[in-house]
Amino acid sequence: MRHDDASARLPDLLADRDDAALLAHVRTCADCQRQLFLLGRVDRLLREHASASRPTRARRLSPHRLLAFAVTVAAAAAVVLALLLLRQAPTHDMVLRTASGQAVGRAVMSHSDARNDSLALTARGLPIDRGQVFVLWAGDSVRPPMQVGRFMVDRSGGCRVHFNLPATHTWGRFWITRPGRSAAIVAST
């Protein structure tokens, strides 16, 4: 995929992360990683802005529409609660620490669907003296390490990113390195 095409389509990743060709390009393109990071911030800003302006609209609803809205919300909440109770997906919460023992992040694994597990990585204070792009790895005692993906942190070394992992087996350990320096571990579970 050409850079121009990938760059134009980056916003698609905000909603759908299954575009393999686009993701493959982003993994190797620092410009696209930065733009994707900024797109994530824009998406969050727009959502926050939208939710902040919604209460004003809610006050304008007629009592009839408000009642209908409340019934819909209650029904949706009941369905979600029932689903949660019926198939409560187990989560696995791990802390990422540097070699000195300082906690710099959390990795929370949860079941996503029949074929995928979801990994939510939250980091704070990762060292950015050699750049803001990092690589997340996964491994266990049986298989060789697998590169989960690259991610970018902000100027405080913080980030919040999601990855999908094949649910074929249990990933027991995660660690973070710099791009091109797979032996130099920055933090590990």
Binding site: S7, A8, R9, L10, P11, D12, L14, R34, Q35, L38, L39, R41, V42, D43, L45, L46, R47, E48, H49, A50, A52, S53
Partner: protein, 173 residues
């Protein structure tokens, strides 16, 4: 003064008495300032908007990009002006001091900046993003409402988001 100039560059040009830069900044921040004025000054809103931009024209030279972003400086100035007007035109907050960007909360600055950044998109890009985020419409629903092909909606949405991300990158750098 090119339309692609950053907010900080516009303020610097306004300090040098560029009317073109002033009109550009007014175009970008008009809606955001109006929202602050309506919220804080209520019925004095229109006077407030006029007063805010008059103060920007007079005080742009006080903006120091090392002390905060242009959006934060403008929001602070707008808030102080609105507070003074709402206090019955008896200044309760000193307005001759330099507004400092750090005096306002980051989420408020973000919201203020976003209002202005949306003004820099094309009409079609802005409409699609507002329908997608503020009205929670799917791309298909937006296409039906605007009576345009779905591909156009996807394209405008991508372009609008990419443009906002680029503007945010410029603001942060």
């Amino acid at each position: 003064m090119p339309r692609g100039a950053s907010d900080a560059e516009l303020l610097q040009a306004i300090a040098a008495r560029s009317e073109i830069a002033f009109e550009e900044l007014r175009g970008r921040y008009g809606r955001a300032v109006a929202r602050v004025c309506r919220t804080v000054a209520g019925s004095e809103g229109e006077d407030c908007e006029q007063e805010v931009f008059a103060r920007i024209w007079r005080k742009a030279a006080l903006f120091d990009p090392r002390r905060g972003s242009a959006a934060a400086w403008l929001l602070t100035l707008a808030r102080r002006t609105a507070l003074n007007l709402s206090a019955g035109r008896h200044p309760a907050v000193p307005i001759d001091q330099e507004p400092v960007g750090g005096a306002v909360a980051p989420p408020d600055v973000d919201s203020f900046w976003l209002d202005a950044a949306l003004e820099r998109l094309s009409e079609r890009e802005r409409t699609v993003l507002e329908l997608a985020y503020y009205s929670d419409l799917s791309e298909s629903a937006i296409a039906r409402r605007l009576q345009v092909p779905l591909g156009s909606v996807k394209s405008w949405k991508r372009r609008g988001l990419n443009r906002l991300a680029t503007l945010l990158g410029e603001e942060s750098s």
